[in-house]
Symmetry: C2
Subunit: 149 residues, 2 copies
């Protein structure tokens, strides 16, 4: 079901500062920067490894406003791990399968994630307190169209 | 520097219950169970993928006592992501390199991690609020000796 750990989403207050820190300290390369209005974040993906069906990344997230989900997270918990994402082959099929096992979905249908991916979130209370994301990576031709460096 | 996301460490109150949930819901296989007295936890590793120099796992952690680090974490934050671990080729060299860049280490020297690995923790305040672990996986012959199923 899970092909790889796709990314660790880290909530931060200053995206540029954290990009500089993570890329310099851990010698990671920024492969995408995006603004996701729907989710209320600006973000960067730092590449760690390639895996089955996609890569593994650190995702840095700065909220666009205090009342966005990441903004509220920062106010309550401070900077740190916001969610963990796992790569799947087909996000819709996986959502159905997991929902049938009694896990609540936060999304009724997949939405747009980083780098042209299709994503869905699972309810953290049903997954050991971990906000869990399913990621179906874009096919290469989609990635080219959708990633804005 | 980082070859893979080695594991997500998840703090939980009932290891057996969480092993059952994660293995059944996400079709993951438990590859190791251990008690680590030094860290005050009993734990299980659930395999997600193989990567460069080692695998990727979900690590479930139940504290052996309330005053252990994971016990204190549970009291303060509840169940959820406790730390994130990245695979490195040589943990001692990586510790030195990262420390020279100004990141505080929680360990002066590597200690014993899951499945015969050598590990070290970085100060979460210096790494965007994320408790960060470096993992040098055991060589296969070490793994055989040290992993208790």
């Amino acid at each position: 079901m899970f092909m790889r750990i796709d990314h660790i989403g880290i909530a931060c207050r200053d995206l540029e500062e954290k990009i500089a820190f993570f890329s310099e300290t851990f010698e990671l390369t920024v492969v995408a920067r995006e603004v996701n209005e729907e989710q209320g974040v600006k973000e960067a993906m730092l590449h760690i490894a390639d895996g089955e069906g996609g890569g593994s990344y650190i995702q840095l997230l700065e909220p666009l406003s205090d009342d966005s989900p990441v903004g509220k997270f920062l106010a309550k918990r401070g900077e740190g791990v916001h969610h963990v994402a796992f790569g799947v082959r087909d996000v819709t099929q996986t959502m159905d399968k997991i929902h049938q096992k009694g896990v609540r979905l936060l999304d009724e249908r997949p939405r747009h994630g980083s780098m042209g991916s299709q994503i869905a979130f699972l309810h953290p209370k049903d997954v050991g307190g971990m906000l869990t994301e399913l990621v179906q990576a874009a096919r290469p031709e989609q990635t080219e169209k959708n990633v804005h460096m």
